[in-house]
Symmetry: C2
DNA sequence: ACCGTTCTCAACCAGACGGTTGACAAGGAC
DNA sequence: GTCCTTGTCAACCGTCTGGTTGAGAACGGT
């Protein structure tokens, strides 16, 4: 799991990390602030942040003892691009399938995809 | 990891499964066809398909021995909605931050976020 | 100098994940 | 019927993951 996109999706697969992203959209936060709503140790939260950080979704600052967490929103573009690509492709496919089904009324080929249900 | 969204993100965290989704956008496929490009057993592919299926991203048909796999594109909407929500929220935040920074020129408060780099 | 706060690192543990092999069900083809 | 193809189920295995606890680093307050 070395590629960026995999890391981003994996990071977002955990509800706590999704919550944290949501929280960070409102503004930067410290580890303690991020940990507060959950019944887990700060160490666990620290680990979650490492996951988000290694996915490039978050950067860490320094303010005395505190390590403010900052959301890097650019990664959203990466996902959006991936999703959009295949969504569009899938939609095209449906249009092509319609065309195929239409032409099948006359040509009547052998077996064809789209037999499901 | 019981909720739909988590399952979808987790499913997409694996490059092989992302590839399969890409392949399925072109058209339905059998397990063997999906397994062919990879150096893994058909059983492994079968497992990947179970993951995609339990995430609601794929349905299985029946054509004699074959079990054609069909992509359910609707789940993309779910992800897109989640991502868009927070992306927009993040953008708003930046605008608000700009406003704050602008007003700081006159008020000069104590500490403020955005100290990083 | 000492204490308290904030946070990370290291070790450990149970469970999930991704892969394997082996057995077998389901359904044409002959 | 018997064989071959297609695919699933079950058991096993090594690794990753998400959590814990304990120790300690970094820094401000007094």
């Amino acid at each position: 799991m070395t590629d960026e996109l995999s890391k981003v999706f994996a990071a977002l697969a955990d509800p706590i990390r999704r919550d944290m992203v949501a929280r960070l959209c409102v503004g930067d936060a410290t580890v303690g602030e991020l940990a507060a709503p959950y019944d887990v140790s700060m160490q666990a939260v620290s680990k979650h942040l490492k996951v988000l950080e290694s996915a490039g979704m978050v950067t860490r600052g320094r303010d005395a003892q505190r390590r403010p967490v900052h959301l890097e929103a650019e990664v959203f573009e990466l996902m959006t691009k991936w999703i959009e690509r295949y969504r569009r492709q899938a939609e095209e496919r449906y249009q092509r399938l319609d065309a195929v089904l239409a032409s099948m009324d006359e040509t009547e080929e052998d077996r064809q995809e789209g037999t499901a249900s």
